[in-house]
């Protein structure tokens, strides 16, 4: 289903949109983003359990709904639209993808049901102070000790890292380099020796943390030294998910800006009747619809096991990143002065557009990735 949604999927989207409109109005977003946690644990748990959100793509054998990334894409698009403050991306996308890609059956059985039920929040810690998203930049080490492992190092830009109950960490064997020697580990969020600091973020709806590991006890997830491939796959899935989240936000901005210009009168007429405004609105529609096409196609490509996923995923991320930011820039402009005020909601999505543009690699990075997978082959 790369080009359309089934009636069931449409229905799921409609009911989710309704729920999110009720639970996550802009006022609530503003309230939660100002808190240190960044979300309301009980409220999120209720919504999650009602709609089965973190369970969506987890296989039924592990307590999930057994759907695919097509459905996760719908969830994220709607969350991007409503700017829901909840640890969904960190838990259901980042950590879950790593566990599904790297974990053994027994590990999945141990870890995933808690995520699916909404009892456990989780995240994936891979980037460090350099902010780079590639395996080679990992410096955090895992040293064997007493049949287990101890982690030492710093992880940064960790989504919801200050609140996650479970942290999946990418670390390397001391002395190893590049993609070799990398393994995934799971760490309890409250483990001894783990210091978590909430970073002050430009996009307050997206909480990032810096984690310092001082001999933190960790369990190996999957095969030792074999995380590179699972990490690469995880990142492909992650950027496709982010692309879907982005197009939801972009569409919301586009719609709000359109509503505003239709209402705003200047020079004795609606500013929506000026061609300069109409041209901009038409361009925004083109940008958003093109980005949606790529995001939907990419989500389906994951589910169908498309060999070209590395290229398609990067294409979707780069396209969505540029569309979202351009839409946000236009949206502020179309609101005029009021669009630059704190009280107007546009900046909430503008900042989400900005953070999404950079998170997990910007458009330039992903265009180069596209060329490596596609350009150098075809």
């Amino acid at each position: 289903m790369r080009f359309s949604f089934t009636p069931e999927q449409d229905e799921f989207r409609t009911s989710l949109r309704r729920a999110l409109e009720a639970r996550s109005p802009a006022k609530e977003v503003r309230r939660l983003m100002a808190t240190e946690q960044g979300f309301d644990r009980e409220g999120w748990k209720r919504l999650n359990q009602e709609m089965g959100l973190t369970a969506v793509h987890i296989p039924e054998a592990y307590g999930g709904g057994g759907f695919g990334y097509g459905e996760v894409g719908i969830v994220l698009e709607e969350m991007g639209r409503s700017l829901l403050c909840a640890p969904y991306f960190s838990t259901a996308v980042l950590a879950t993808a790593a566990i599904l890609n790297a974990g053994t059956k027994a590990q999945k059985k141990a870890l995933l049901p808690g995520i699916a039920s909404g009892d456990v929040t989780a995240t994936l810690a891979f980037a460090e102070d350099s902010g780079l998203n590639d395996a080679a930049s990992v410096g955090t080490t895992a040293t064997r000790s007493d049949g287990g492992y101890k982690l030492d190092g710093i992880k940064s830009f960790v989504l919801d890292g200050h609140t996650a109950d479970l942290i999946v960490v990418l670390a390397r064997k001391p002395g190893s380099k590049g993609a070799r020697g990398l393994s995934f580990f799971t760490v309890d969020g409250k483990a001894a020796g783990l210091e978590r600091r909430l970073l002050k973020t430009m996009d307050e709806t997206r909480k990032l943390a810096r984690l310092t590991f001082n001999g933190v006890e960790a369990s190996l997830l999957g095969g030792e030294g074999k995380a590179a491939a699972a990490f690469a796959k995880t990142m492909q899935q992650v950027i496709v998910c982010l692309a879907n989240e982005m197009v939801g936000g972009a569409e919301r901005l586009r719609e709000d800006a359109l509503d505003y210009v239709k209402m705003r009168m200047q020079f004795g007429r609606s500013i929506a009747s000026f061609q300069t405004t109409k041209n901009k609105a038409a361009d925004m529609l083109v940008d958003v619809e093109m980005a949606k096409s790529a995001a939907y196609y990419a989500a389906a490509a994951i589910d169908e096991g498309d060999d070209d996923l590395p290229m398609i995923a990067s294409l979707a991320k780069a396209t969505a990143a540029e569309a979202y930011l351009q839409t946000a820039i236009h949206a502020v402009q179309m609101h005029g002065g009021i669009g630059f005020t704190w009280d107007n909601d546009t900046h909430l999505w503008f900042k989400r557009a900005k953070s999404s543009e950079i998170l997990f690699g910007d458009a330039n990075h992903h265009r180069e990735t596209m060329m490596q997978h596609w350009g150098d082959r075809t």
């Binding site: 080009f3 210009v261 009747s273 061609q275 038409a282 093109m290 180069e368 060329m371 350009g375």
Partner: protein
């Protein structure tokens, strides 16, 4: 009689073709048989050379023709728009006189709508139609007229009343192109081709029975023609490809297609030739240049997203869902793709892009891309008009306050041309 089904139509056309098809026929001779049987235009009414079948069966009929290599009616060119317009608005006399010779390909048509003073604003036409006795006398100029130099007949939009608002004063005629009052000059384009013409009318005559609309309804009829243009004349019009089979009828068809398609031979270059980009990047070694890699990736992203957007629109249509916004964007998006493709071809080609023809890469194809792409954002509705259509029809934004649609057309400021005095 029972309702036709795909199977019944297939069986019927197959039986008819088996009994009648013979590649030894002359092209016109065979097409007259198609007119008689109705299999040439099965969705047309029975009394007018069709079989009155729903248009959805055309593909079934086409498949059966293709299966045995049977030649169809003349499909390419403006003639199909003429036929569709005449079927909708013409009198019985028009239908009798014109339709059969459209299908046989004996008559070639052209569309006399655009003028030097009215391109996007087509309803602002100032070519005059004045009544003299019982005839109409035409003076003025049309432009961008494909195939006018070969056309027997023209679909003419002209102003018959200057005292009413602009959309109300237009009349729609069929004009005999082979008369002394009509002069056709090729219009040379910036890419050296001359696919279009300028047509000058000096007291050209239209017989009264060749008025297609009532005076004042010309715009409505023109809208029909334009709608058919967008919809590919409801399955009748197609991008003709010639069969390579041997035999007299195939040779005649090949000659017809070659003539009809001649004006369009640079159209692939106009769209930017995205298909050549990787090959060119590799053979020039520019594939290693990080800046060019970024530009190529931008192009491939655009062209893939455009393709997927078009497929989303088609999927929605196939499922009978209401048309979403994705269906209205293709024209504008194709301009973006073409423009980025020209940019990338320039970067890849470097200094060689200074050259043209035999001195330039691919025997001039690359050079032709660079100087043909500007047509994409103009032809068939400029990007600006597309944006207005998207914003007004899809996004429901209000129109600009009108300054020209209420007052008599003679009082509307307009471009100065010889015929507008």
């Amino acid at each position: 009689m029972s309702e036709p089904t795909e199977d019944s139509v297939r069986a019927e056309v197959r039986a008819w073709l088996e009994a009648n098809w013979n590649p030894g026929f002359g092209l016109v001779e065979w097409r007259l048989k198609l007119c008689e049987s109705g299999w040439g235009a099965p969705h047309w009414p029975k009394q007018w050379y069709g079989r009155g079948l729903p248009v959805k069966f055309n593909s079934v009929v086409d498949e059966e023709f293709a299966r045995i290599g049977a030649v169809g009616v003349a499909k390419a060119g403006i003639r199909t728009l003429a036929a569709a317009t005449i079927l909708d608005h013409g009198t019985d006399l028009h239908k009798e006189k014109f339709l059969k010779r459209v299908l046989t390909g004996e008559d070639t048509w052209c569309q006399l709508f655009s003028e030097p003073g009215s391109g996007s604003d087509m309803a602002g036409a100032v070519t005059r139609a004045d009544r003299q006795g019982n005839k109409w006398v035409i003076n003025g100029q049309k432009v961008w007229t494909t195939s006018a130099h070969k056309a027997h007949w023209g679909l003419l939009l002209a102003r018959a009343n200057w005292d009413v608002p602009k959309h109300k004063g237009l009349a729609y005629f069929v004009l005999d192109m082979k008369q002394p009052g009509v002069q056709v000059h090729p219009l040379k384009q910036m890419n050296n081709h001359a696919s279009f013409n300028q047509v000058f009318f000096t007291d050209a005559i239209v017989e009264p029975e060749f008025l297609v609309s009532d005076v004042g309804d010309g715009w409505t009829v023109a809208t029909t023609t334009l709608m058919h243009e967008r919809r590919g004349a409801d399955g009748l019009r197609s991008w003709a490809t010639a069969s390579t089979a041997k035999g007299r009828i195939y040779e005649e068809e090949r000659a017809e297609i070659a003539t009809t398609m001649e004006p369009y031979k640079w159209y692939p270059q106009r769209a930017g030739r995205v298909d050549l980009v990787m090959q060119r990047a590799r053979e020039t070694g520019k594939i290693a240049d990080p800046v060019i890699r970024q530009e190529i990736a931008k192009l491939l992203s655009l062209s893939k997203a455009a393709e997927w957007t078009a497929r989303r629109a088609r999927a929605a249509q196939d499922q009978g869902k209401p048309q979403g916004p994705e269906g209205s964007l293709g024209k504008l998006v194709s301009s973006h793709v073409a423009r980025q493709a020209a940019r990338v071809h320039t970067y890849i080609t470097g200094s060689d892009a200074l050259l043209s023809g035999a001195d330039s890469p691919m025997d001039g194809v690359i050079a032709e891309i660079l100087i043909s792409v500007p047509a994409t954002s103009i032809a068939g509705g400029t990007d600006e008009i597309q944006r207005n259509i998207i914003s007004e029809r899809v996004l429901k934004m209000p129109k600009e306050p009108s300054v020209d649609t209420v007052k008599p057309f003679k009082d509307v400021p307009r471009n100065i041309t010889a015929s507008s005095s």
